[in-house]
Symmetry: C2
Subunit: 196 residues, 2 copies
């Protein structure tokens, strides 16, 4: 299917805006940055996104869709335990592929926007909720099949996993090294007593 | 001891700059914000701090000193296990007292500055290193006395604790609720099998 020029331009703006936000944050990304990155004039940018707020939500929504697809394709395996293990591997692979630049757009935005923009905070919190819920289902299933420990509720363990990964991404990005994230995924495996 | 007016003014600038940075980040804090917060004129601000870079390091250094004092006063107890438990309680209390606004200045700065300013990233990474090292000593000691599990190195467990807490602070700040941080500290207690 051929896409119209307008749709392609809109997608290009979104792609470059996402890249910029990932590196510089929402507040640090200016219209000038976006003009430079896309090669478009101000009028063209405003034709596709009427203001920064609209672009912000478009960036977040795109990132959310891609992230949920990533979760669905990573949390898979012959068993629930293997699914969790695959997920850990894919998380490391994902951040390794960016050389630990950019980090997690939701974690970054959470820290940037939590105290500034309640609506954005609610949006990001919902994404974390969706992430935790998907991990919770896998944890619950792995607990049922005896592949991880059962003395913590599936909800609490899923939250723990997500929180630890966010911290691990933060430190890996800071050190520009896979070690902090790799170590934290390995310690997770040990602590939750994961058997594949 | 009476302090000179100059020293008091400098301290006031630092205090307000720290508050602003905690809420708005380094890049989001402008000289105008600082003039408004301190009631000082531009000339007076520049008299005490020659540029934003100097102020950035002064803010980070002050936050580091206070944080290390917090760690030293929190990681205490009759036993190493109790020290860790007290530390978890104090972390929750610290963030409860700010109503989950501001979060962890090092976590925030890590996400804000990791890809932008290498020197700041190195500074923050060093603070995380100091934090992990202090927790590692307590973990090592608690492992020796059989108060937490031993199948993970003290270093890996200390890193895991710090990463999880950073993730927990992130989510608590996002939700403006103590639940995510409280839950993650409780799941840590279970997963590391902490006995007081």
């Amino acid at each position: 299917m051929r896409q119209s020029k307008g749709v392609l331009t809109k997608e290009k703006i979104l792609l470059e805006a996402t890249r910029l936000v990932q590196r510089k944050g929402f507040e640090g990304t200016s219209i000038c940055d976006l003009m430079e990155a896309t090669g478009l004039k101000k009028g063209s940018l405003y034709f596709h996104f009427s203001d920064k707020n609209e672009l912000t939500y478009a960036v977040l929504e795109k990132a959310r869709t891609e992230f949920l697809e990533f979760l669905d394709s990573s949390l898979t395996g012959r068993t629930a335990g293997e699914s969790l293990d695959n997920f850990f591997k894919k998380v490391l692979g994902k951040h390794r592929s960016t050389k630990f630049v950019g980090g997690c757009i939701f974690g970054n935005s959470a820290l940037e926007m939590s105290d500034k923009d309640k609506q954005v905070a609610v949006f990001i919190d919902r994404v974390f909720g969706e992430w935790i819920e998907r991990v919770r289902v896998a944890v619950r299933s792995a607990q049922s099949s005896g592949q991880i420990r059962c003395d913590l509720s599936a909800e609490a363990m899923a939250r723990h996993i997500v929180m630890t990964i966010e911290g691990g991404i933060m430190l890996a990005r800071l050190e520009k090294s896979e070690k902090p994230l790799k170590d934290c995924l390995n310690s997770l495996r040990t602590l939750i007593e994961l058997e594949k």
